[in-house]
Subunit: 198 residues, 2 copies
DNA sequence: CAAGTTAGTATCGACTCGATACTATATTGG
DNA sequence: CCAATATAGTATCGAGTCGATACTAACTTG
């Protein structure tokens, strides 16, 4: 009864957010999926800015993502850079124009106000609940979690010395800066996951 | 910072819910908007089951709603009934087939499980936060609230006697049964809204 | 009763999205 | 070392959404 209510509220909120986004984007001749793609590319790390990663994140097919990227590139909202090691791979970077668009469009001011008026304790609870629901959805749909690099079990953080804050990824075998650690990665795995499972 | 997090979580959850719905509906050759329409029609009252009301609820245009209804009717998921008083108006009713579809598709079991595992106090807080965000979105987009009939300021409830539980709507000037009072109405206005504003 | 309003439909174009098929590049097992 | 296979990405097609515009029919108001 009450759990159904939570579900209904989440669905309704999602629908209304989508309506609002559509309205904000219409003047710029863009669709919700375009903004979602740009926002993702603004927050992911250098191993996750490919068509495949976007496909996984948004839960679509490769072809759909390919078309979305074509549109965004034509509008000069992102740039493509070929990978030097693997010539099949293309990395996508949001252009300055694209970043400006994301910052202008993404936060609905009215909603931010409403968020700001929420009691801090309620906010913590709500964020935890939403995060739990997201985790549940990702698991049952066999989707990756795309967590923050610094909290990944592949991430070995340097705790002392001049390189404090930087780290090393044991999966891709590469040095990571302190800012890299804040970005989301398609290879993310929770630290408490039993080793050898993935 | 933290308010942005709440916003991001709500958006992400909305996107993932949409992806999951698409997946569940694909086998039945339906789209998310079809389910949204059916679910609305399953919960609204007899004054709100028209194309105009659906248009307002879903935040679309009349033409879009008209097409959606055409598709649903062709699939025998709803039936149209002409209004006897106003011959411009058509009322849409979900067919038994449609109701079965809604009950089968709507609740994502994995998500319901996750909802059920939420701490009761957190759940109350989360529901309150989601409801607040929905209210904020509706207000800034000049959309109606579509609240529950029994809690509307137009609703005059009978508190005693044989007719206890029934009520009278001062707006449409009509008697309402106890079950009518549980449905959502496009004319809903909060009881604490200053009289004469709407 | 004319003018304006409201309910709903019809049509068109831009776009999403999934399915399928395809190319090009990497990887792997014999 | 190379054939088989896997992976990254693109191209194309069809079904469908969605908004814009224009339209008909019916109701309301001055």
């Amino acid at each position: 009864m009450s759990t159904e209510n939570l579900y209904n509220l989440a669905e309704r909120l999602g629908e209304l957010l989508r309506v609002e986004r559509r309205g904000m984007l219409r003047a710029r001749q863009l669709e919700p999926v375009h903004l979602a793609t740009l926002r993702y590319l603004c927050t992911c790390n250098q191993f996750s800015n490919t068509a495949s990663a976007i496909t996984e994140y948004l839960g679509q097919t490769k072809g759909t993502t390919s078309q979305t990227l074509k549109v965004l590139e034509k509008k000069s909202l992102l740039e493509r850079v070929a990978d030097v090691k693997d010539r099949r791979v293309v990395h996508f970077f949001v252009s300055p124009t694209g970043r400006r668009l994301v910052s202008e469009v993404a936060p609905s001011l009215a909603l931010m106000d409403a968020c700001a008026r929420v009691e801090p304790s309620d906010q913590v609870a709500a964020e935890q609940v939403l995060a739990d629901l997201i985790t549940a959805l990702l698991q049952t749909n066999n989707m990756r979690a795309f967590g923050i690099c610094g909290r990944c079990r592949h991430n070995q953080r340097r705790q002392t010395g001049l390189t404090k804050g930087t780290s090393f990824c044991n999966l891709v075998k590469q040095e990571l800066s302190a800012s890299d650690n804040q970005l989301i990665c398609r290879e993310y795995q929770r630290v408490d996951v039993a080793a050898g499972l993935g």
